[in-house]
Amino acid sequence: MIEVKDLCKRYDGRTVLDGIDATFQTGEVVALVGPSGGGKSTLLRCLNGLEPFDGGSIRIGNDVLEPGRVRAGGGRVCELRRRVGFVFQQWHLFAHRTALGNVIEAPIHVRGLGVKDATELGRALLDKVGLSHREGAYPFELSGGEQQRVAIARALAMEPEALLLDEPTSALDPERVGSLVSLLARLRDDGLTLVAVTHEMRFARELASRVLVLHGGRILEEGPPDQVLDQPRHERTRAFLGLGQVSPPSRVVPSLGLGRTGVAPVFPAASAGE
């Protein structure tokens, strides 16, 4: 469980986060949506200690992050980061390592696993994301979708309790969005907490159990996707979602084919390698 209390962050005199209170339950999938500059990515980076903040606290299990105790490479934050994986928007795969090398790097050097055990684990994870046939490939030889899957496998190799994803769909074509959704659905069903910043409403609708709308560094509203996305209470949310002023949710949003509890992916590319 991740508990955020009164989180504040200023940057260059500008308030980026303005008293965020939020709780992310174990096994929950939360979508962070909102206009650009609303603080979504900053909040996500704070949750992993990548971004120092100025006020409030973040509790992850028994560990608490507070201002001044977050240092980029400090010992305590490192401990915490092992339990919270992060998948970057641009993935940031280690350019000098193969797909498998990327996945086993941290298990060997951070968790202290033997090379043999780590390799076994790495192969299993690449298999899980459907890339076992690409383990020897370098990042520059992989497509965007493949790099993202390696990045997910790399994060999973630390056996985290939660996975943070920054705009996971932004670099994918619609077909690949489908296969990503089905992969994340499987992880969710394994009990992993997922928090994703997204602009893709269909993604939020298909996968999330809860949607948080961030605007101006505050949480504008939150709730289940059908409620927040179809019947937003706040005028600003309506504008952001492109809904009319007076609006019954009459727009038909095409389904990605996954129900809230759906398991079976119907995307052609879902399990085939990309």
Binding site: N48, L50, A72, G73, G74, G75, C78, E79, R81, R82, G85, F86, F88, Q90, H92, L93, F94, A95, H96, R97, T98, G101, E105, A106, H109, V110, Y138, R154, A155, M158
Partner: protein, 483 residues
């Protein structure tokens, strides 16, 4: 680029045209080459009249010009290259404590000698083991490269250490880096004997200073011989010596000197050739060059890495300190740094010459390496570092496992470049008496009166060291490219 060179060569040819005496009389100027760095009492810049010169040889040149009915004009030239410069026509005569040696006699014309000197051996006052040349077998004795003392040491079974200046050997003797110094008495008297920690062991030989001319200028030599005879007999010569405090009773031999004596003095000539023994010395010098370069690089790499990481990731004060280091060592000549390290700090830091060379070049190159690594680290996207942190790595681990390997790939060509530059820059350490490849080449070239063959041999040896290194670096780059 070639044009100015051709012009210079043509002008030299033009200058050489006509026999010596006729040329001097036509131009009305007797040009003489000397090294003002040689210092007191030979020829040096006049502190009271900037641009002017003073010294006993300045007065001698003026007296000779007067006798010839012309003016004298001084040309500055590195002492060890006075003869080659004379040969290529830079000036009419070389007049700067040039000793008459069999090797030089076979190469240039000499006038009758104008000064009789003694080779004076000095040692530390508290070192009673030095009693004469025999006691110095296998020990370190310093002197000027390519001087008569240098020749004498070559045959004496001692370890001869060559110097460019007259002050440095005595500093090294005081510091215990040398066991003795053998120099002309004039030099010993000015630079060695005032040092309380040193003592005179004795005079172990004598020799003559004479004026050197180009072969073909026999007519000028005759006139100079006659002029010297007149000056000596009139008492003017010894008056000059007295003014400069270098006169002694034996100088009367200069006054009574005869042409027969000149012929006898110049009759023994020797034309040294480049032989297998020289090749062996060149190979030894290459080992010194390699040792100094590798040693300096081994020092520069970790220090440079520490400096670059301090600038990029260290606390602000450490970063500023590292920046200051880089600017200081990069912004001042390495020659100066070597001098300060070896001679300037001699009282505090007791280093032998090779250690000082390695330390000096290593400290200097660390500044360059720091910037090469910094460029390498900056070329690695910030995201790589963040991705490593996000996996729970601490800063050190992230740098070691993720950033540095990628930075190294970018830095490698720059490092190779620097190492090859270092290989050649290592020739600078000859100023602190280390005989490396370039110094060896210079000594041999002056000795055998040819720069061509020693130069080619020297170049070949440098290439033999640097080329395999570039090949190795390229293969390493290719391997890194694959992963």
């Amino acid at each position: 680029m070639w044009l100015p060179l051709v012009v210079v060569m043509l002008s030299c040819v033009a200058e050489q045209r006509g026999s010596g005496a006729e040329r001097v009389r036509r131009t009305g100027v007797l040009t003489w080459g000397a090294d003002a760095q040689g210092g007191e009492p030979y020829a040096m810049e006049d502190p009271d009249a900037p641009g002017g010169m003073r010294g006993f040889e300045v007065e001698l040149a003026e007296a000779l010009a007067r006798e010839l009915g012309v003016r004298s004009r001084f040309y500055q030239n590195d002492w060890s290259n006075l003869i080659p410069s004379l040969e290529r026509g830079s000036f009419d005569i070389a007049l700067n404590g040039i000793e008459v040696t069999p090797a030089r006699s076979g190469r240039v014309l000499f006038t009758r000698p104008y000064y009789l000197f003694h080779l004076r051996l000095m040692a530390r006052a508290n070192d009673a083991t030095v009693t004469g040349m025999e006691s110095l077998r296998g020990r370190r004795v310093g002197t000027l490269a390519n001087s008569q003392a240098w020749d004498q040491l070559q045959g004496a079974g001692v370890q001869a250490v060559p110097y460019e200046g007259v002050e440095e050997p005595y500093i090294d003797l005081e510091q215990g880096r040398l066991d003795a110094v053998l120099m002309d008495d004039i030099i010993a008297q000015r630079y060695g004997m005032p040092r309380a920690a040193l003592r005179v062991v004795g005079d172990v030989g004598e020799g003559y200073y004479a004026i050197a001319l180009r072969p073909g200028d026999e007519s000028l030599r005759e006139e100079l011989d006659a002029a010297l005879g007149r000056i000596a007999r009139s008492g003017e010569l010894r008056a000059i010596f007295q003014r400069w405090g270098i006169d002694n009773p034996t100088e009367q031999r200069m006054v009574e000197w005869t042409d027969a004596q000149t012929r006898e003095l110049l009759s023994t000539t020797r034309a040294p050739r480049l032989g297998w023994g020289q090749l062996w010395l060149f190979l030894q010098a290459s080992v010194v060059t390699l040792l100094v370069s590798v040693g300096a690089m081994v020092l520069a790499v970790p220090l440079g890495m520490a400096l670059s990481l301090s600038r990029l990731y260290g606390p602000a004060w450490l970063g500023r300190l590292a920046t200051l280091y880089v600017e200081l060592f990069r912004g001042t000549p390495v020659l100066l740094q070597l001098y300060v390290l070896y001679y300037g700090l001699a009282g505090i830091l007791r280093l032998d010459a090779v250690s000082a060379a390695i330390l000096g070049l290593g400290l200097n190159y660390a500044a360059y390496e720091a910037e090469v690594y910094r460029a390498g680290v900056l070329s690695v996207p910030r995201g790589q570092f963040e991705a490593a942190l996000a996996l729970g790595m601490n800063t050190r681990l992230a740098l070691r496992r993720v950033v540095m390997p990628q930075a190294f790939r970018v830095a490698l060509p720059g490092m190779t470049n620097d190492f090859i530059a270092l290989l050649k820059d290592s020739s600078l350490v000859s100023v602190i008496s280390v005989v490396e490849l370039t110094k060896r080449m210079t000594i041999t070239a002056v000795d055998v009166r040819s720069w061509l063959l020693p130069g080619a041999l020297c170049a070949a040896l440098y290439l033999a060291m640097s080329y395999p290194l570039s090949r190795l670096a390229r293969r390493l780059e290719a391997r890194l490219e694959r992963g």
